[in-house]
Amino acid sequence: MRYLPLSENDRRDMLSTIGVEAVNDLFCDVPKEALLKAPVDLPEHAGEMDVERYFNALGNLNTAAGHVPFFVGAGAYKHHVPATVDHLIQRGEFLTAYTPYQPEISQGTLQVLFEFQTQVAQLTGMDVANASLYDGSTGTGEAILMANRVTRKKKAIMSGNLHPHYRDVVDTLTRFTDDDVRSLPSTGADSAADLAALEASIDGETSCVVVQNPNVFGELLDLRPLAEKAHENGALLVVVVTEVVSLGAVMSPGEMGADIVVCEGQSIGNGLNFGGPYLGLFATRQKFVRQLPGRICGETADADGKRGYVLTLSTREQHIRREKATSNICTNSGLCALAFSIHLTLLGEAGLRKLARLNHERTLKLRGALEGIPGVKVLNKSFFNELAIELPKASEDVVNALAQKNILAGVPASRLYNNAYTNILLVAATEVVTDGDIQAFVTALEGELS
């Protein structure tokens, strides 16, 4: 077995040092009837070639995003990731290190986290960020728990146009706590109605309002009036961003008055990977630092006075506080955060601005093309790189028909809203979309609708 270095002789010598006859003597605390007499019923070991062959065959059963015109978004986005990113994250020193609990021999990871936290704070327009969470959806749940701690209130209100899967994750996370989390009904593409309903829902008992920008229908929201209303009532504004590239073009949540910002960071540095691993970005105001969930890296000095970095504020965490911790989270999404940070360093501010503009330009172009199709209605007043369009028939049928023609047309809103909004289709266009892709999509859609 190629991964196991001990030889039969080694094993014999080691058993002899230990003073037992056979390796099973070391399993003497296992009840006899529970120790398996024969291998479990699974295939025997396989060489590299066989394993690769198996996975290649399975890969061929999928349609890869990069092989077809691709317009799927709704919380995960296909962007180009520079070759440098994947090369660097595969350096063994990053890939095969543990959590940096021994800072003297973990400065690589720690300095990256310090830079990452700075990047996230800048991007979101906030003061501070943590070292990442599992993903945007679980991060949203953590944001609500944090808002409830900060305000010592229990009633959180979620927008009906927050990604439905995110709402489900929050409902699940808070199902058995004494937090009172409410979801407003979705107003569909009418985002003004959603904002009005959110404002109307705020009272003195409210801990926070949670709103996504751009929302799940791709609409951009001016959240400043909502922030004002929340703050008047001693509530926090939690802003969720599922397409983080938008922050290169759109006013940041911090500038709009957000108190906690959660983003799905996948768009920068990380591939689609069928939904994971992704990374949650989590940022807040300086004054709430000690209520942050998850790991945090901070600057300090070593015994020679040299600047260095450590994990800090760990008295919030489960390994110290146990049942009184701010969260049960033990890990972050370190390698995904590294990929994010490297990609954002390669982009820099100038590159991110260009990338965001390019995404918006592609989507403007897509909108123009879609508006020319009889029966298709673009529902957005504003958008970044995703649109909600209404079709004259069920969008799921259209998506399936176009998939047969090797075009991945988008996400039927009914898939997210469990059969509501049957005719609405969410379509995203990032920098990877070419004019040819748009033309192919439009032609196929026209054919399907005619």
């Binding site: 070391l26 291998p39 479990v40 290649n56 940096p100």
Partner: protein, 513 residues
């Protein structure tokens, strides 16, 4: 070829290393590296993108004005920055990483290659089901391996890490109890448990009652039985436990919990010791998470991403979260919503979990096969016992008898030396080792938990043992300075964590002009 004529090749007269300070602050290959904000600026970039003109945007008057402040670097500068930083990390690729309860085993690169096959990595979670049959087959196969290895009938793949898996398991238990009409009040957790256990129980709305260990480092069955009544929702047990010992009484405990109508949660963090040898389903377990980043070699990545699928007993199957995989006439499909009348407790994450980790773990499992996985357990247990047997005359082993895959020592052997567990650990850094887990579990004083894993050769183990014996001798000889000032040879000396927490500096800020 270098011309050696007339060039001195010996080292006569070469000065002592400590006395020389350098202009750069570097020490040869040990290089200082500034922050990206000190190297780059907002105008520099390492990507070439077209500069597109937009005549009329559709941002609704919400365009971002003003500078964000993000620093950019060119591609060569980026490569150098991160390469230099990487060299300040210790890693399993560099040496023994005996971090108890973390299972720092070899991370095969075949796994990385497999996870990057375009047909499997470049796939969106919300593509039409007909276009993702390969990915669903990966999930189905992984589920089959996990269910077979544990002899459990069902698995929820989506939890993103071990603690997330605990939450998933305990939520299913609470949902099952509520369905029977009484959620109950408390969860029993041994003192030796990971901190995530009590934190998870609290998130499920339960009070936590800690149960002390017995003097053999195991759960005290009598203490548990005394605490068991119809207010107990669940018992959470780690097996093998955090002292590195098998919980011999687990089946009896499972029966006792079931007798009062509660459930047994098993923390599978230490599954590596028994994979292919013992099936938790045979011991009465109702739910157990499996850390794919421990037992099944997915890389720790400097702190995640992990993956924590949870296997379930028949009793809990109806309460598992969505999405859930099933087969129909068109192949594999996903149930993505909890409909009226369904008993699924909810959804753990936005999409389908850590697919990238599923691929790596399955690649690892297939490479080992049923025969190789049992060998993994055997070699990991053999190596830990070899370390225990080779050190117990000079260090203080906390408990008698063989251990499982990790050997627990406490600080009695350092008594009156002036050297603490922390100092001893930092001394190991100077010898080129990552320290073992320290001060955990909490049930012994100054714990040192050593988990060599199956990935070490005998020569590597012997050198590690030799080093530990040397350090032990030095501590006992009174060479306190070696430890209290350690590390001397790492990229950094000991860091002031107290100062970091007192006045947190959590980001770079531009210097005030």
């Amino acid at each position: 070829m270098m011309n050696r004529q007339g060039r001195p090749t010996g080292i006569e007269g070469v000065a002592d290393s400590a006395s020389v300070t350098t202009f750069t602050g570097n020490a040869g290959l040990d290089m200082d590296e500034a922050l990206i904000y000190e190297i780059g600026d907002t105008q520099r970039s390492g990507v070439d993108l077209p500069d597109v003109d937009i005549s009329a945007d559709a941002l609704g008057g919400l365009a971002r004005a003003g500078e964000i402040g993000l620093a950019g670097l060119s591609e060569p500068e980026t490569m150098r920055h991160y390469t230099r930083l990487s060299r300040k990390n210790y890693a399993i690729d560099m040496g023994v990483y005996p971090l108890g309860s973390c299972t720092m085993k070899h991370n095969p690169r075949l796994n990385e290659k497999v996870a990057r096959i375009a047909g499997l990595s470049d796939v969106h979670p919300l593509q039409p089901i007909s276009t993702v049959q390969g990915s669903l087959k990966v999930m189905d196969d992984l589920a089959h391996w996990l269910k077979t290895l544990t002899n459990m009938p069902a698995v929820a793949l989506t939890p993103k890490a071990g603690a997330h898996g605990e939450l998933c398991g305990l939520m299913a238990m609470r949902a099952a109890l509520e369905a029977k009409g009484n959620a109950r009040e408390k969860v029993l957790v041994p003192e030796s448990a990971h901190g995530t256990n009590p934190a998870t129980a609290a998130l499920c709305g339960y009070k936590v009652q800690a149960i002390p260990a017995n003097d053999k480092g195991r759960v005290d069955l009598d203490a548990f039985k005394a605490a068991l009544d119809d207010t107990v929702a669940a018992v959470m047990i780690t097996n093998p436990n955090t002292c590195g010992l098998f919980e011999s009484e687990l089946k009896g405990l499972a029966d006792a919990v079931h007798d009062v109508g509660g459930y047994l949660y098993c923390d599978g963090a230490n599954f590596n010791a028994i994979v292919g040898k013992v099936r938790p389903g045979d011991l009465g377990v109702d739910a157990m998470h499996i850390n794919l980043h421990k037992t099944f070699s997915t890389p720790h990545g400097g702190g995640g991403p992990g993956a924590g699928p949870v296997v379930f007993s028949k009793a809990l199957m109806p309460f598992m979260p969505v999405p859930d995989l099933y087969s129909d006439d068109n192949g594999l499909n996903l149930k993505e919503h909890v409909n009226e009348g369904d008993t699924n407790f909810g959804r753990m994450t936005a999409f389908h979990g850590q697919m990238g980790m599923y691929l790596r773990a399955l690649s690892y499992m297939m490479s080992h096969g049923s025969d190789g996985l049992a060998r993994v357990a055997e070699d990991s247990v053999l190596s830990a016992n070899y370390v225990l047997a080779s050190l117990k005359d000079v260090m203080s082993a906390s408990f008698d008898g063989p251990c499982m895959h990790e050997a627990l020592f406490d600080d009695r052997f350092l008594k009156d030396t002036g050297v603490t567990t922390l100092d001893f650990a930092k001394g190991m850094i100077d010898e080129g080792y990552h320290p073992m887990t320290m001060y955990f579990p909490l049930v012994v004083n100054g714990a040192m938990l050593i988990e060599p894993t199956e990935s070490e050769s005998k020569a590597a183990l012997d050198q590690f043992i030799g080093t530990m014996r040397f350090l032990t001798a030095k501590a006992k000889e009174g060479d306190v300075e070696r430890f209290q000032g350690a590390p001397y040879h790492a990229p950094m000396r000991r860091l002031d964590e107290t100062a970091a927490a007192r006045k947190p500096i959590l980001r770079w800020t531009p210097a005030a002009d």
